[in-house]
Amino acid sequence: MNASFKENSLNFSFVAPALFIFSIFYIYPFFYSFILSLTNYDLIGDFNFKNYYVGFSNFRDVFTDKDWWKSMYNGGYITFWALTFQNILAFALALAVDKVVRLKKFYRVVFFILPVLSEIIIGLLMKQLLIGEPTGRNVFNNLLNSAGLGFMAQDWIGGDRVRMITALVHCWKGFGWAFVILFAGLQTIPEQLYEAAKIDGANAWQQFRKITIPLVMPVITLVVVLTILGTMQAFAMILALNAGAGGETTVPVMIIFSHLGGASKLAGLACAEGLILGAILVAVSFSMFFVSKKVREKYGVLPS
């Protein structure tokens, strides 16, 4: 008994450091977050739960807050573009790179440069390219003009299409990463399947529909989940690019930050917002994994 207790605690000590950090930065904050969300504590005086308690009013405030849902809509809008435009582009690129013989490696390397760089770098670089006088030099518009595409020139940073433009920049940064995952998925499809299909007289479209799509389906689901999680938490790139543009590209994390800054009594509100965003994202990703499991069962394949 004693020996096994000693043994157990020795074994446990391997995990203990990880668990220690984990408890401090995940478990404790989670509960503390919940407690704070029930208060209007200003983060200045000594915390006394009874004095600051306000019930669930912070949650009610978030749910009825138009600005919050607007930011969720903005996030959702960008996510929608990332899901469709970015991922379809990534898939098309993956298919194309899979087909070509030459320059395969070059493409793979180049497409992945953007995900390797930080969101801040991308945001600031694009701002420099897109912003016009008097702050910037209107580089992109000039390029368009000299390419004979002058009709496309516009105010990219603060114009009325800023949300769409932000979404596109986001897609531009993110597609490489979806590309690599999808490309890896395509590589796992055995060549013989296509050969067999060709012998059966299937044309390219039929091959694509009957072989490619089903076999990379699990990978696609995965990309979808990761895209949603990543995009709904986007923050740094948008901050660097246009800092919310009068609410047009304000995303949930920005709202949380704005309520946290300074010493207003909105820390509890910020906690409630964080928890609600977290809950929504967890729910989405779990349901997506559930869907993914169903898909896998249906097609009977498991990706490596």
Binding site: E133, T135, D160, G246, G247
Partner: protein, 427 residues
């Protein structure tokens, strides 16, 4: 051997990470936290001077940018590690929270010493901002809790050479004139009618409030905060519509709704805009960015003659004394010295800021002296009996940005602001 070196790296890094906590300063040093980049050198010169005169060390510590400064002060308040002297950037309710948590010393008795000698030095309008009156909404003991170190006034600025070129001898006085003048610049390659850092909401807010008070009078304006007047009131709608007019007239720089004040100051200093709206600190900024620029200040372009123009302004920066500091009395002594005429004049010379005290008129450059003429009709949220909720202000600012971007109409914004206000106060 390789493993050994790995371990060495590991153990070398640990002290490197943890050994860097802030060094404890000597006990008799007065520590001051501030955020004023432009005054960094002037402050440290004054500290040296004070040391020579009294033997007391003063250390000014610059924390930048302002939002970082605020977070740092909040964090320090909670950890009870505030320095001897600090400032608070934010609304008066925040200051109230700090006072309630006993972070800020009540300076009233010191101000009143010697027949109110210290108190009487200041412009009353400037001091007004740091005074908590009887029955204040923060529910703190009435008194003076901070020492103003300068005065700030929001003003319109015009580029003199550009205005001359257009053939006007004086800046516009009414809103219509303002638009007419600015519109003449439009179309010239890279010059614009009006530039302002409207990406920072408070600049929009200050301007909107100035126009609102000009249109409806201060009384009616304050009644809006007290919820006796709605933001959907025709007068407010007119105020919001002014911004739509500005947009439609095409005089605004592109990207104005995402522009920072720094970007705007840079553009104006480089002669890219005819008009701008900025604080009195900008004298120093423009001077640094482009010493050759010819410009002047002018008051709000009027939209009504029924009510007087009130100018957003008052105490620009002020210092508070840490109630818990062991050097409290020394710190107060230092601030008293800091706001004496000699030091204030020194700051005027070095930084071109309006002083907090009255007695410097004769030592001021022409531009500043002109600005002091406006001191009699200042207004500022910190002097109002009640303040607007920060979330309502946020909606107003964002709404104005959207009007300027052409995404929303004034009536939509008015409705949204009122909705927010109703929601917050329903409880």
């Amino acid at each position: 051997m390789k493993k050994l070196s790995k371990l060495i790296v590991f153990f070398v890094l640990i002290p490197l990470i943890f050994g860097c906590s802030a060094k404890k300063p000597k006990d008799n040093t007065i520590i001051v936290w501030h955020w004023m980049t432009d005054r960094k050198d002037a402050f440290s010169e004054l500290a040296t001077k004070y040391q020579a005169e009294t033997g007391v060390n003063v250390e000014f510590k610059l924390l930048f940018p302002p939002e970082t400064y605020s977070m740092k002060v909040t964090a320090a308040a909670r950890a009870k590690t505030l320095p001897d002297i600090f400032g608070i950037l934010g609304e008066k309710t925040t200051v109230g929270s700090f006072i309630r948590a006993q972070h800020i010393a009540d300076l009233t008795p010191y101000m009143n010493e010697n027949f109110q000698e210290w108190k009487n030095r200041f412009y009353p309008q400037t001091l007004d901002l740091v005074v908590f009156k009887d029955g204040n909404s923060s529910q703190v003991k009435p008194g003076i809790y901070a020492v103003p170190i300068d005065t700030t006034i929001m003003q319109f600025v015009y580029n003199k050479s550009l205005l001359d070129k257009l053939g006007f001898s004086a800046p516009p006085e009414t809103f219509e004139e303002f638009i007419k003048y600015a519109a003449l610049v439009k179309g010239k390659s890279d010059q614009f009618g009006f530039v302002c850092g409207w990406g920072e909401g408070w600049l929009l807010n200050a301007l909107a409030i100035e126009w609102a008070i000009n249109l409806m009078g201060e009384e009616k304006f304050l009644q809006t905060i007290e919820r006796k007047v709605s933001y959907t009131d025709p007068d407010w709608l007119k105020v919001f519509t002014l911004f739509e007019t500005l947009k439609n007239s095409g005089i605004l720089v592109p990207n104005i709704a995402t522009m920072t004040n720094k970007e705007s100051e840079d553009a104006f200093a480089k002669g890219k805009a005819l008009f701008s709206f900025n604080g009195s600190w900008s004298i120093n900024v423009y001077q640094q960015l482009n010493p050759e620029i010819q410009y002047g200040f002018f008051s709000l372009p009027k939209i009504s003659i029924e009510h007087p123009v009130k100018i957003w302004g008052g105490s620009g920066s002020s210092f508070m004394v840490n109630e818990r500091s062991p050097n409290k009395l020394e710190a107060i002594k230092f601030l008293k010295w800091f706001t004496a005429k000699q030091q204030q004049v020194f700051l005027i010379e070095k930084t071109n800021n309006l002083p907090a005290i009255k007695d410097c008129q004769d030592q001021m450059p022409e531009k500043l002296r002109k600005l002091t003429l406006n001191l009699s009709n200042l207004t500022h949220p910190d002097t109002w009996p009640d303040n607007e909720d920060s979330r309502v202000i946020e909606v107003i600012n964002r709404g104005l940005q959207q009007i300027v971007m052409g995404l929303k109409t004034p009536s939509e914004v008015a409705r949204e602001v009122q909705e927010k206000k109703d929601k917050i106060f329903r409880k």
